[in-house]
Amino acid sequence: MNAPLVEIHDLSIRFGEHTAVSNVSLSVRAGTCVALVGESGSGKSTIARAVLGLGDQAARTSSTTMLIDGVDASGWTERDWRRVRGRFAGLVLQDALVSLDPLRSVRREVTEAVRAGGASRKEAPEKVLGLLRDVGFPDPEKRSGQFAHQLSGGLRQRALIASALGGSPRLLIADEPTTALDVSVQRQVLDLLARKRDEGLGILLVSHDLAAVADIADHVIVLRGGKVIEQGPPSALLHSPGHPYTRELVQAIPRLHHRPDRTERTAESPAPEVVLHAESIRVQYRTLTALDDVSLTLKRGQTVGVVGQSGSGKSTLLRVLLATQQPQSGQVLLDGQPWSDLPEKARRQRRRRIQVVPQDPLSSFDPRWTVRQILTEALPGKAGRAECAQALEAVAVPVDVLQRRPLELSGGQRQRVAIARALAAEPEVLLCDEAVSALDVLVQAQILALLERIRAERGISMVFVSHDLAVVRQVSDEVIVLKDGHVVESGTADDVYERPQHAYTKSLLASLPPALSEGA
């Protein structure tokens, strides 16, 4: 009765000499969710697109079996595939802002999908409203006239799911549908997908986030370099991973209630001195209060985590600490001396004491420069090749990278070079701005380990800003929870995470995938 919606055996996809996918088999049944998990370049998206007959024109695809809705799809032309797309299988992509047409309202976007699915002009409007209501789009009668840029990330993703469901498909292919979203919004989108699955939709979910996927998937396929490493039910993979790579992946997931053994804190000095102190910072943009009465104290060799969703004021706080933005009231002290109140000229000589590790290292490098030029600019005095090599060594990057441009490096290497540049200034404080958010989970674990080593070895203090609660938990001694520019909760990491006082903190923690909360 429940025949697979998609059944593929031994799928291989090659781009010229390069094999992107080799011998992958999968099948998705109605009312189940199959997840493809892997780091970037593992071939997961390529497979998902092949199921819709979408592929790079240079790709050569082959398989022994390719059944779409029980029909042999090998040898299908573009026209045959087009009949399937939308009506039988809908596609949801990661970035809803790019996937939605900026010149069309949500209503038009969904109407097009509904009409393509065979609804008549008359019945379409009612169906569109029904769909939008179904995916939890608030007040669809009024708000469906809005455009993509007027919506929040969560609402965009809902609109996109609604239009993917427009043709009443039986299969939904979702490619990283929650990656760009805040935790609580991510939770809502996953819940929506789980509900659609329970209503009988088959889902093929693509993600790099094993923890998020484990929550709703019935079957997880772990991919690496285009090959299936391991597969099975999510609980089995999480608790008893068979393959070393899966084990590595599982271990790299930052846990909420488990902290890696931290290098001994600076125990010899009983009361570490205060390095950076922000006092009742207030920042106002016209009518919007970005920060209101925010204080932060950073002691030597310690890490303060700042948690909050987008728009909570995290970035503004960082700019104030860095003194690239003046607060309306309150002040920042560095080593007990004025910092935010100094004139820029006086501050300039001391700027090297505070360095930034950026979210997107690539844009923080001059595009014309090689790694060596980047490091030379940061190192004190007239630094030669030897000093640059030494700086790279400290962050475990091979020396031959010196002559390359950042564009030619991997994401992890770029972040390491950015850290090397920050360290070259011999700072007392590192401000990490979503420093690992854009990285795959394994690379993320490596960079976190590197930062931890630097903190322990050099006694550098850090402010670690992130929307990722689990990561902040891992690195922080103290945590500040920001919401709409206010500190809703602050305290030691243990207190905030184990005994949250404020309702908002509790709701944030509750929206995390359960896999993160389990002790290891």
């Binding site: 781009f15 010229g16 092949a50 007959g53 592929g55 790079d56 024109q57 240079a58 790709a59 050569r60 695809t61 082959s62 398989s63 022994t64 390719m66 799809a73 090998s74 040898g75 299908w76 860095l322 690239t324 300039r348 000589q349 001391r350 700027r351 090297r352 505070i354 360095q355 930034v356 950026p358 997107d360 844009s363 923080s364 490098f365 001059d366 595009p367 014309r368 600019e377 940061a378 564009l407 540049r421 200034a425």
Partner: protein
């Protein structure tokens, strides 16, 4: 094994290798360059060697482009004319570029008052077409090479300055300038190291294409008598001279015309190619 989606077309190749067209255009520009540096190398006779007996000869083995009504070799005049048309266009663009860089960077990096003021000046300047500008300068300083160059150069300033201003503002707010600031570098150092090179390099390529367009402006203006004046063989004034005899001799008009068209075409082709290459490297 069954093939599902066969390759329909080869993946797009990056424009890293020059096409035959670009090579031909480049070769042509080399000849133009030779004509600029040492016209005697490319043309046997001088541009003003008159020979009344053999006037208005049709193109042939002795005179490739024929002769005009004074018996001057049209080929030699076209070759020597490059010294006027191309050099004036080049100098005008250099002037425009210099002014554009200085004013664009000043607008971007000074305060709001300076920026607003300069932006209005750009608006004002761009309201004057280069023809009007040239007329103005000719009226004040008399027609000639200097007036022509200055007029075309000034007319180029606003558009180049606006591009540079926009680039510089974007770069000033970039993460790498922030990184440089947090390293304690002085604003002037940051301008020289990051803002100037990154704002100007894309405009340099645009400027090469601008040279082509300016050749047209130079020729047009000297066609109406605002150029270097007779007997200078500027391409536009060659066209004007040929006009008188065009009903029975086509060559004194057609060959200078071709020189203008082909040179502009070649500069644009090579310029666009260089632009694609540089963009390919950065994205």
């Amino acid at each position: 094994m069954s093939e599902i989606a066969p390759a329909r077309q080869a993946p797009r190749t990056r424009p890293s290798r020059p096409t035959a067209g670009v090579l031909v255009a480049g070769l042509y520009l080399l000849i133009v360059l030779a004509a600029l540096i040492h016209p005697g190398l490319v043309a046997a006779s001088g541009p003003n060697d008159t020979d009344p007996i053999s006037n208005l000869l049709a193109p042939g083995a002795d005179h490739w482009f024929g002769t005009d009504e004074l018996g001057r070799d049209v080929y030699a005049r076209v070759i020597y004319g490059a010294r006027y048309s191309v050099v004036i266009a080049f100098l005008a663009v250099a002037l425009g570029l210099f002014g554009g860089v200085v004013l664009g960077l000043t607008a971007a990096l000074s305060g709001r008052v300076v920026d607003e003021g300069l932006s209005r000046v750009f608006d004002l300047l761009s309201a004057f077409p280069s023809v009007l500008m040239a007329l103005l300068f000719s009226a004040f300083f008399g027609p000639g090479t200097v007036s022509l160059t200055t007029a075309i150069g000034l007319a180029l300033i606003p558009s180049l300055a606006r591009i540079i201003r926009r680039q510089a503002i974007a770069i000033r707010g970039s993460d790498y300038v922030l990184a440089s600031r947090t390293l304690g570098h002085r604003p002037w150092t940051i301008v020289v190291r990051h803002i100037f090179p990154n704002a100007v390099s894309p405009v340099l390529l645009l400027a090469t294409i601008e040279v082509g367009t300016s050749i047209l402006t130079v020729s047009g203006l000297s066609f109406v008598g605002l150029g270097p004046g007779k007997p200078a063989p500027e391409w536009g004034s060659l066209l004007a001279d040929g006009q008188a005899v065009i009903s029975y001799a086509w060559w004194p008009t057609v060959f200078p015309g071709l020189a203008i068209v082909v040179t502009i075409f070649a500069i644009t082709t090579v310029g666009r190619y260089l632009q694609r290459r540089v963009q390919g490297r950065h994205s």
